[in-house]
Symmetry: C2
DNA sequence: TTTAGCACTCTATCTATACGAGTGCTAATA
DNA sequence: TATTAGCACTCGTATAGATAGAGTGCTAAA
């Protein structure tokens, strides 16, 4: 038996342990692994190998006389090189896409359905990182006067259906004519500018200009600054928190569940993490301690971006205990992300 | 001792039991009650009275040799006639109002802060029933063309800062001129109409009219129908789900927690319930089985509407186990509701 | 009417014990 | 040299019995 054969068997055994543990949530013993292994081997041999796997830091024992449980590193190896991600059939993908199309074709509703679908199919909590105007570029704005000192500022982004409205209170009254002038000014001078840079750009102009534009720039700045300051960079739609509590690991230790839910309440930090993970067009898996967020100690997520015309518009993901069916969930998350991308890409619900 | 004295003592004892149980989450025995009672009585007497209270269905024993626990009916009597709701000092109210005012003055942010405040002070989950355009009357609409067959429909309500935007896909292209005509038509012909009636009204006109208006009515109907169909009647902002899991009753029985979180996911039914409870300007308390919602078996909520100029704009509430500090939570919920109302009433953040 | 006293009930806790799952090691085996 | 049968050992879990303690309801006396 050469080295490669050795490796292969080790890996196979690791996979069996992980898959059995994922299915049962109970530490896996050598006997069970031996029974599952294709070329029949004795449990004693398995024990030796499992000992090695433990020394390698891929498995661990809850206590001396228990079976083995995968470590974060064990899952990592499995996810990176061992698991095979199932393929969904054309029909299944069609079915999913069909379910994502629904009565209402707005992006908001589409993402809501996607969350529901993920949660239902994965039987886990799911999250969706939804695009907001603020990450796009200014395509158009509209001002709707609501009173002399109050105006609704409608921001429209250059990507599919990104828009937002914000009420802005003004110190100085704003006349009808001024509104028209402002809209014209902004829609001619600032289009194409990323929303994030709009305020900076206006501030710079304010310093430079002293001419007749000054007033326009000043007022635009006032309004856009306020409108943009209340607009979040992203939104996180979370669904299926109840599934967290239902998992055996969290039932056994309600404190763990509490900490996770507590952590989830600070959506900000999860968003940050997910965003930084979704820069490429790939499924990302974060396992246990790889997630440096308070409360997520025993959790993993699988996330994938939806990419339209080369741009990452947002992402979807499934969140659960480290004991997660990574192959299945990965396939699921990727399929849903692709479905969303294809729906968004093809524009209006066909 | 006359009948009234009897009653008074019974009630006093019920109150003591409830307050002790709320504080400790442990069944309350006669000894403890005797020690707390002002005019010193023996535990034997208390036992007799507690026996009566049990017969009356206000207390119950988890098992023969345990102390007593309040029933839903016991809490109900306590809430209706026995508890005294604490008063917040002027300073405390100011402090709260101050915390509700924040950097951002939009209603959305205000309500978000209110939820955070409630959750933090009550150490329980809180919810907020937020007003939407759909429950107000049409004050103005604006149409922003996003493409030849796509338009952003901005709905503005006749109440403080109620508005919404929806993208509407059109079958037929829409020209600039048509947009102007439509906006003019809607903003002159339909203002003041409750949004709920807008579609009906247009449909009736569609049947009646065959003249030149027909086209306008038809297209308005198309757009408004789509825009309104995706607009919810209400929104429910839920916060502090983690506190639910932290409560001892739910820690002991994770299944209960799971059922409640599951129930919470269907925000629709909770909204319905809360809305129907908040028709008057009063704090409403729902105790245990009085909430006919699946999953809420061992839960109560305390809710209060925020009322501006005689109209119920929305509501706030605290949700937790039936073992809740009703006096404190009631005071809290009412104070927050009033604060919100006063901020909304006085218009822009003063 | 109240209360001291007491027997009774039931749970929670502890201990002891047995059980069994799973391990690691050793020695025999192919 | 790799594998495996065998076995002693460990340790968690399940079971049962004993104990303590909290709280009750009842009775009889004050």
């Amino acid at each position: 038996m050469n080295v490669s054969d050795f490796e292969q068997r080790r890996n196979k055994i690791l996979s069996v342990v992980i898959e059995a543990y994922v299915a049962s949530a109970v530490p896996v013993g050598s006997e069970l692994v031996a029974r599952r292994l294709r070329p029949s081997v004795s449990s004693a041999t398995i024990r030796n190998v499992m000992g090695e796997l433990e020394e390698a830091g891929l498995l661990e024992q809850p206590h001396t006389s228990a079976g083995r449980v995968p470590t974060d590193r064990g899952y990592r190896l499995y996810v990176d090189s061992l698991m095979d991600v199932p393929w969904f059939s054309r029909e299944q993908v069609m079915e999913m896409t069909h379910r994502l199309h629904g009565e209402e074709s707005e992006v908001e509703q589409l993402l809501g359905r996607a969350g529901g679908l993920l949660t239902e199919l994965a039987q886990q909590a799911s999250f969706i990182l939804a695009p907001t105007v603020k990450r796009t570029a200014l395509r158009q704005i509209e001002l709707v006067p609501l009173g002399v000192r109050k105006v609704l500022c409608v921001l429209i982004g250059d990507q599919e259906e990104t828009y937002a409205s914000h009420v802005v209170e003004l110190i100085e009254p704003l006349s009808r004519e001024e509104v028209l002038a402002l809209v014209r000014f902004i829609n001619t001078q600032l289009t194409g500018l990323p929303y994030r840079d709009v305020v900076d750009s206006l501030e710079r102009r304010l310093i430079a200009e002293t001419d007749s534009f000054y007033h326009l720039v000043k007022r635009s700045l006032d309004i856009l600054q306020h409108a943009l300051s209340t607009e979040p960079e992203e939104r996180l739609l979370l669904e299926g928190a109840s599934y967290i509590v239902a998992q055996p690991e969290f039932r056994r230790d309600p404190g763990k569940a509490h900490r996770l839910l507590k952590g989830l309440e600070d959506a900000e930090s999860l968003m940050e993490q997910v965003r930084s993970d979704l820069t490429t067009d790939r499924v990302r898996v974060r396992i246990g301690r790889e997630l440096p967020l308070a409360g997520y100690e025993a959790c993993s997520y699988v996330a994938a971006p939806f990419v339209v015309e080369g741009r990452v518009l947002g992402g979807v993901g499934v969140l659960g205990p480290t004991r997660m069916d990574y192959p299945r969930v990965s396939a699921l998350v990727e399929a849903v992300a692709r479905s969303i991308a294809s729906i968004l890409g093809r524009g209006p619900a066909a």
